[in-house]
């Protein structure tokens, strides 16, 4: 079967992309090691010390089985408890990177490349399962599928796909299509599969209400979405100071102008704002810990 390679999709020369990957790798290698360690602590299941039944031999007697053991004339002899090793939890983690033009306007490109490198390196070291990378803007495209192993060369190949020139930022489409991708990928994993998406973007997007509905749908399908907002580094403006203009109907149905803080209606439940790559490992582990503790309490 011939492999189909879409060469039109490569917008950056491979040599340049390799150089960029090496550079990002150098800038983030210590951070990747520490992020990997933090993720290991959060994502790996705590070693189960629970004793489970019912076995013919084991560590301790299961007292609940004793009566039926005697009553059955010692035939029902699965009366022992054993310490069982937990099965390794599996993950599918997708990194979705904003390829729209506002990323270059807000000088977030370097930070985006470093984030891709940091997160993918940490996850490969974790050996946790599948890693996929998608890019989005006007549309959403998989640039590295779950099935494929990740290497330095795949890193360079991924960097080739980004030029941050897309003239729209369609997050609705991203979330909708990501749900489909995750649902298709579910067949690759075992029953105890965790699906997580990390979105890396400047966070500027329209129609928060519709996105929020889709985010809820993802959550119902047990897909966790974490939004990493890369905040303009060199500029004097921050998304945290940004306001949004809305027109809402008053009691008489007249549209009235309202100005609110942009982040007040931000549709993602779990988001962090980072200004510097060194902040990312801490922020990411913080938000994941919050998510998993919330899961545990429900």
């Amino acid at each position: 079967k011939p492999e189909v390679i879409d060469r039109d999709e490569d917008v950056v020369d491979i040599e340049k992309a390799r150089e960029l990957w090496r550079k990002s790798e150098l800038e983030t290698q210590d951070l990747a090691a520490s992020l990997c360690e933090q993720l290991r602590l959060i994502l790996e299941p705590t070693l189960s010390t629970k004793l489970k039944g019912d076995y013919k031999t084991g560590k301790r007697l299961n007292m609940k089985r004793i009566i039926s053991y005697i009553a059955s004339d010692f035939r029902k002899d699965k009366i022992w408890l054993r310490r069982t090793k937990p099965s390794k939890r599996q993950y599918q983690i997708m990194i979705a990177v904003d390829d729209s033009k506002s990323m270059s306007e807000s000088k977030s490109v370097d930070l985006a490349f470093q984030s891709i490198c940091l997160v993918s390196k940490a996850l490969t070291q974790l050996e946790s399962g599948g890693l996929s990378i998608v890019k989005f803007g006007e549309d959403t495209k998989v640039v590295h599928p779950f099935e494929k192993a990740f290497s330095a060369e795949s890193g360079a190949k991924i960097f080739q796909k980004f030029d941050f020139q897309q003239t729209r930022t369609d997050i609705k489409k991203l979330v909708r299509e990501s749900i489909d991708i995750f649902n298709n990928a579910r067949t690759l994993g075992n029953a105890d599969l965790w699906q997580l998406q990390i979105i890396i973007s400047d966070g500027v997007c329209e129609d928060h209400a519709t996105i929020q509905k889709l985010v809820r749908r993802a959550r119902e399908e047990k897909i966790m979405l974490v939004f990493v907002i890369i905040d303009g580094i060199n500029s004097d403006e921050s998304i945290m100071d940004m306001s949004q203009v809305k027109y809402l109907p008053d009691a008489n149905g007249n549209m009235v102008l309202k100005v609110d803080k942009y982040l007040d209606s931000f549709p993602f439940e779990f988001y962090v704002v980072v200004h510097d790559i060194t902040e990312l490992p801490k922020m990411l582990s913080l938000i994941l810990r919050q998510y998993f503790s919330e899961l545990a309490s429900n």
């Binding site: 807000s106 500027v204 100071d241 940004m242 203009v245």
Partner: protein, 99 residues
């Protein structure tokens, strides 16, 4: 379907009167806005009791259309970050109404 496209902008002004200055923090606004709607926003931010009509300039050129049309003319997208300069309108009110 209504186009909900929005764009990031900031307002600046060279007016001497400090009372007419808004802070230059970014704002996310619909691209369908024209002079009138933008003027309404500036007045809202200034909390003026009597609305002051404003004109808007982008890169020194008076905005006479919607932002959307401006973007089209300039071959820009809503991914741009626009700086809008506002000045007290010098046009007579009857003429303003036609914008």
């Amino acid at each position: 379907m209504e186009d909900k496209s929005q764009i990031k902008i900031k307002f600046i002004t060279r007016e001497d009167n400090q009372d007419l200055h808004v802070d230059d923090k970014p704002l996310y606004v619909p691209i369908s806005l024209k002079r009138y709607g933008l003027s309404e926003i500036v007045n809202h931010l200034l909390e003026t009791e009597v609305p002051v009509p404003f004109d808007f300039l982008i890169n020194g050129t008076l905005l006479t259309t919607s932002i959307e049309e401006y973007l089209k003319e300039q071959a820009l997208s809503s991914e741009a970050f626009l700086t809008l300069e506002y000045t007290r309108s010098v046009l007579p009110p009857s003429y303003l109404a036609s914008f």
